[in-house]
């Protein structure tokens, strides 16, 4: 993984000193709350329902085991012994004290981490495929480009006061595992006819109250021009994006208002000028190779694929089937560490689990742990012969729930329990669903289903792109839930369709149960839930949900 040199280390250390000074001035009354807010947000610090919330950047979802142990240390020392992984592959702590935050940032800096630009109207953490570098279908590893983008976007003097937040995702494989179509910019690595590496560029995707899928504005951008093209998009957005209405300020609204062709022309014109004026933005092969050198795969052993499930327990076989994934190197497998144990808020992990996962990764994987946008962890480099040991260790930690890709592998925001923006609870609904659908045979029969749930229309839980989306709404002070069907954040993403009026809190699981009944009754052989919804439309599901309820 990327390692800091003196430039990176100095920058992060000076950032800590800056925030320590800003916090001191705030606590001494020299900065008002209004003045301090944008400063703390740019360091990932929110003031939430109960306490501040600190969001720590996990660049493109890659953690060393040393960094994971530091997160465990922070959870124990400054928080309540646990943390929460987010849909942007970051970690959130829900109970730090403001006065301790500079010390937390200093602890993070000691392991080459920070919380820079994890909030605020600036360029956020760039996300990537959590199987980057190991996926059999990969064209090129997206992480070196993410690191290049991280550096370019960090404390960018021109783009630190954008109209609104800005999110970039990079994928390196035909299968989109980074929800790239719902990002402000989605970059898809590809090769042109000559075999040169570059990017397909999507712009203007996003969720929130106006969900829109990204539009392709450049079919092939040679990789050397990555930064100049990003700079052109950001400059056009910074100049033309709306600032009069926070709900109309994302780039998706600008692209929609101008039309994608006009927007593309503006970007291309600006790009031509930037390429002339800023030759230093051009990525040399030497620089890309230098960064790529940080992401070299570990030395693999020459192994053959083996049948590890033969003669093993049904429990292990289920875990192998649902919680491990193919690896491009024979004899290896990627392991998904389930943070979706029934009875635990999705994405939550205790300090003890963090330490133990770090130890396990050092023992059976590569000393690195990946975070996923669907709020799990991945051990990327596990030898197949070590899978049983890995499973046993994870099982002992309650991190081997064999439910990845099933109904209870939900994405879920913290909701009303923690978040001051939320209209409704989401963790309680997650629990209700986990309890209702605790039978694994039923979950396996249902197959691949993605539930995504947000406690408000800001859509941190990506509900628009859930196969089943759940959105918490406030109705006269009561929590209600709107259900959508047919969304997807995978390749050829789709936005879900609302099935009808929102449902009361106590019948969310019952509503989902009725939806699933329709699927089970109407599915054709081998047809996944999403395919059935796409084939039938939402009507038969709505009939079942509302027909008997009215």
């Amino acid at each position: 993984m990327y390692r800091y040199d003196d430039i990176d280390a100095t920058l992060v250390a000076e950032r800590v000193a800056q925030f320590r000074d800003q916090t001191r001035r705030f606590l001494e009354g020299k900065l008002s709350e209004d003045e301090f807010r944008p400063l703390r947000l740019r360091n990932g610090l929110y003031i939430q329902r109960h306490a501040p919330m600190l969001r720590i950047a996990v660049p493109y979802g890659l953690l060393s085991t040393r960094q994971l142990r530091m997160l465990g240390h922070i959870a124990r020392k400054y928080d309540r012994g646990y943390g929460h992984f987010t849909t942007r592959q970051n970690m959130q702590f829900n109970w730090p004290e403001l006065k301790n935050v500079p010390d937390i940032l200093a602890d993070l800096a000691s392991v080459e981490m920070h919380s820079i630009q994890t909030s605020g109207n600036c360029i956020r953490n760039t996300t990537a495929d959590h199987f980057a570098g190991i996926a059999p279908d990969e064209i090129d590893d997206p992480r070196p480009y993410c690191e290049i983008i991280r550096q370019w976007s960090t404390l960018h003097p021109e783009f630190s006061y954008l109209p609104r937040k800005f999110k970039i995702a990079v994928t390196g494989a035909p299968a989109d595992r980074a929800a790239s179509e719902v990002h402000d910019i989605g970059l898809h690595l590809k090769r042109d006819a000559n075999g040169q590496i570059g990017f397909e560029v999507l712009v203007g995707g996003g969720l929130g109250r106006t969900p829109i899928l990204g539009k392709m504005i450049r079919e092939f951008l040679p990789r050397e021009h990555l930064l100049s093209y990003l700079e052109a998009i950001l400059r056009v957005y910074n100049q033309e994006g709306r600032r009069d209405n926070i709900h109309k300020a994302r780039i998706k609204i600008l692209v929609k208002a101008k039309g994608v062709e006009v927007f593309r022309d503006l970007v291309e014109a600006e790009w031509a000028l930037i390429r002339e004026a800023e030759p230093d933005l051009k990525l040399t092969d030497a620089e890309v190779d230098r960064i790529r050198g940080f992401f070299k795969p570990p030395p693999y052993e020459k192994l053959a694929d083996i049948n590890v499930t033969q003669g093993q327990s049904a429990d292990f076989q289920a875990w192998y089937r649902y919680n491990t994934r193919a690896h491009k190197v024979p004899g290896y497998r990627a392991v998904v560490v389930s943070l979706k144990a029934h009875g635990v808020p999705p994405g939550d992990i205790t300090a003890e689990q963090m330490d133990a996962v770090a130890d396990l990764a050092d023992r059976v994987s590569s000393g690195e742990v990946r975070t996923t946008h669907d709020q799990n962890l991945v051990l990327g480099e596990v030898r197949q012969i070590d899978l049983i040991e890995t499973w046993q260790a994870l099982k002992a930690l309650n991190l081997a729930t064999p439910n990845i890709g099933t109904l209870t592998d939900m994405i879920c925001c913290p909701g009303l329990d923690f978040c001051s923006l939320a209209n409704a609870g989401s963790l309680g609904i997650a629990k209700q669903i986990q309890e209702r659908f605790g039978d694994f045979d039923y979950l396996y029969d249902l197959g691949h289903i993605e539930i995504k749930m947000s406690g408000c229309m800001n859509a941190c839980g990506h509900h628009h792109v859930g196969h089943i989306g759940i959105l918490g709404v406030d109705k006269h002070g009561e929590e209600w839930y709107q259900i959508t069907l047919g969304g997807s954040a995978s390749t050829h993403s789709a936005l879900g369709e609302v099935i009808g009026p929102s449902v009361a809190k106590d019948v969310v699981a019952e509503t989902i149960s009725r939806i699933l009944d329709v699927y089970v009754a109407q599915r054709e052989s081998g047809e996944e839930f999403l395919e059935t919804v796409r084939r039938l439309g939402v009507e038969p599901f709505a009939e079942k949900v509302y027909g008997t309820a009215h």
């Binding site: 040199d5 021109e158 006061y161 109209p163 100049q239 600032r243």
Partner: protein, 163 residues
Amino acid sequence: MAQLIKGRQLVANDWVLGGGEVQPPADARVILPLADYIKAIEAGEPADRRAPLLKAENHDVSPLLPYLDRVPLVAVNFTTTGDGRGFTQARLLRERHGYQGELRAVGKIRVDQMFFLGRCGFDAFELLDDEDATTAIAQLDRFSVAYQEGSGNLTHTRRRFGG
């Protein structure tokens, strides 16, 4: 009198803001809203004693370009704190259009933005009355390194690949 920082110190402000009801003295150096500035120059007023005031929210700097070779000072007014368009204006004037004279940030700028303002090419800063000049000056050198090219002589990442 607003505090003015230039060259990392408090300096006297020898420009006045015109365009209002009160006529400045005939020999005064006057900053005028861009449209008034253009009218004044076209009417033959002395170019060394007239300066344009851009608004951050009017992001297009092109009306100023025909006059840039004789402008002693360009002021950019931030009507609201943190209007990113003013940062782009500064970079365009400095980097694309080669403007070398004083570039002054006025209006609702806060001291914690000064590092970025400086990196974009502003070299003079009119502080709000409640801001502390010492704190403000310190912010200009808050970082000794940067990942991007920009005004000033910071160590930045080009060093890594021999740029």
